[in-house]
Amino acid sequence: MCGTCGCGDPHIIAVPVRDKILAENDRTAQHNRAHFTEQGVHVVNMMGSPGSGKTALLESTARALGQRRRLGALAGDLATDYDARRLETAGVTARSISTGSICHLDAAMVHDALHAWPWHDLDHLFIENVGNLVCPAVYDLGQAHSVVVLSVTEGPEKPLKYPVVFRTADVVVLTKIDLLPHLRGLTIEQFEDSIGEVMPAPIIMPVSTTQGDGLELWVRWLDRQLMHSYAALLDASTSQTL
């Protein structure tokens, strides 16, 4: 019977589906995740506004970690391979994903980008999403963690305006804190308060990539996550052996 008006027309059937609209993307994301887990690669989906400092944070990460970790990045942008080239210069194995007019990365774009690219040997793979606080939040890419990069110059109200991307994040890296003295009356506490209204248990890391402040905390967090990835890999291989 028709589910719209209950008219009883026997030629109209109501077919219940009750499935996620993005189920296809989620399946591809799970496929990506399985690849990453099998290889012990820790994958981070980096989201944030254009100019929030995502690429600068990865350049600093490479300076801090490059000697002892193998870092890779997929840089999503509507056009140009500018970020990927910047990251290559910083010592990160990088590839760009040009999305054309699409405002976000999806799991299939990430999967395609992995082909014929040496990601298997990486320790950390950063997926630098298209600069946008809205659309990237909706698409699972297969990452282990999601990080929002928010710069102090964007203002402390941004988490309240764009709650979805923050709610799905594990960590917020608050960048450009060296500029705080130039921003009238702004404090880190104001950012912490507004983030606390959209994330129940936020992990916030204030950093300055130009001064180096706070990077130690970020690097330590990455180290810890990599240990978890190795432990998961070991667990999987042990249970296979047994």
Binding site: G3, K20, V134
Partner: protein, 113 residues
Amino acid sequence: MHEYSVIQAVLARVETEARAHNAHGVRAIAVSVGALSGVDPGLLETAYGLCRGEGLCADATLEICFIPALWQCRECHTAVAPSGTLRCQSCATPAQLVSGDELLLERIDMEVR
């Protein structure tokens, strides 16, 4: 505006389901959209109008059920207001989302005559 990609996913699934049921038309498509799903119901409607085409869904209405965000304490399950700090008022434990992140294709009404 990712609502276009979202509606493309809806239309692809509707087509698959309609073919499986030998339907020759679709009367209605029912979806649920949570307040924290990242999808705007108005924009989804606009995207549907532009993407539905002249085929199966030409005369199908899109029914959108909006689901508000509901938070509760992880420990004592007391309701936590969606505005303000997302922690329990009585025990300060972080809140958990009970509903409001749904993005679901619920039902398709098909013509099978």
